[in-house]
């Protein structure tokens, strides 16, 4: 996806938190990015480093936590692990799988001073 917009979204969340909580600097932050969220993690890191220059998060460490992909298989009527939106159900081999987990991309927490 357009990782620049995502990086700007993260910066925006950190700046809002700084105004709300009254901290001066973000030392590190943790993101959770699901495997089906369509985010290219390396591109996001690259954009993140570009947008934080001169901000409350300048030089902050970015930790990205992976969240596994999950889908509901209509044939098997159960939740199964998937690594991509077009993956088949690992049990029945069918494609009647609706993605249910691993779509999230969230800022979890910030280490601040």
């Amino acid at each position: 996806m357009h990782e620049m917009s995502l990086a700007e979204g993260i910066l925006n969340i950190m700046e809002e938190a700084a105004a709300r909580e009254g901290f001066a600097r973000v030392k590190s932050l943790r993101l959770e990015v699901g495997r089906l969220a369509g985010v290219e993690v390396e591109a996001l890191r690259f954009c993140f480093d570009a947008v934080i220059k001169g901000s409350v998060a300048e030089g902050a460490r970015l930790d990205i936590l992976d969240a596994p992909g999950e889908g509901w298989c209509m044939q098997c009527a159960k939740t199964v692990p998937v690594d991509a939106l077009y993956d088949a159900c690992p049990d029945c081999g069918g494609y009647q799988v609706q993605a249910t987990g691993g779509l999230e991309m969230r800022v979890l927490d910030l280490e601040v001073e």
Binding site: H2, S5, L6, G9, G38, Y86, M105, E111
Partner: protein, 241 residues
């Protein structure tokens, strides 16, 4: 340590929810058209407008990186259109659309068509407050596009296979394409049409008209519920005095 637990796109999602409320209050059925460049979105729009004009009020938001060519093509059909240039941006976001609505001010119980920037990747992640994303794929593209760009086909409720008048000249495998789309999104609806020849257009026009009817009756239902509530409260007030 400061706990945040906030979606990265939460700012966009907040604007999108505001747009969605506004659309519901005004009974507007809003469709977000997405595709790669050159799939025939603008031709599909101008043909749809010509065929629906006089049957329901229509307004258009046109998204492109540069130029107002598309908005001018739409205005030539006689409906109101506003161009949003995203500049360096690769997608429309809900804030841009909210801003465009201030200028466009679409009427109640109408159809609002949003033509997103030609891009099969980025617009997938940005909710604009629309009722549905509709992905347009032309048969001059590859039938494996749903697998190459799964996020968009996953986000869309309807896939339109456009330019079907060209099928006799191509090796495009329609069934394989539909199977690929359903592999990514088992619930996706599919329509095959040619905006140029008009073949298959009726199902699409019916779908749009049904959407506007549903949005209108939802609005009227809400207004009616509010009226009943006012009557109830007035009655309660009378009892007390």
């Amino acid at each position: 340590m400061v706990r945040i637990e906030q979606d990265i796109l939460s700012k966009n999602n907040t604007y999108a929810e505001a747009n969605r409320r506004r659309f519901a209050e005004h009974g507007q059925f809003v469709v977000n058209l997405v595709s790669s460049p050159g799939s025939g979105k603008t031709t599909l729009l101008t043909r749809s407008i010509e065929l629906l004009k006089g049957r329901l009020p229509i307004a258009v938001v046109e998204g492109d990186q540069q130029t107002s060519n598309d908005a001018e093509r739409i205005r030539a059909t006689g409906v109101r259109a506003i161009q949003v240039n995203t500049g360096k941006g690769c997608h429309l976001d809900a804030h841009m659309v909210g801003h465009a609505l201030e200028h466009l001010a679409p009427v109640d119980d109408s159809l609002l068509l949003i033509e997103n920037v030609g891009n099969l990747v980025c617009p997938a992640g940005f909710d604009l407050g629309e009722a549905h994303k509709v992905v347009v794929l032309s048969v001059t593209e590859g039938e494996d596009k749903p697998l190459k760009y799964p996020d968009m086909f996953h986000a869309a409720a309807l896939m339109i296979l456009n330019k079907t008048d060209l099928l006799p000249h191509l090796d495009f495998d329609v069934e394989a394409c539909i199977a690929n789309a359903r592999r990514v999104n088992p619930a996706i609806e599919v329509m095959q049409l040619s905006a140029r020849s008009g073949e298959g257009m009726q199902a699409w026009l019916d779908w749009l008209e049904a959407g506007v009817r549903a949005a209108t009756s939802a609005r009227l239902g809400e207004v009616e519920a509010l009226r009943r509530r006012v009557v109830e409260l007035e009655a309660q007030l009378k009892e007390k005095t």
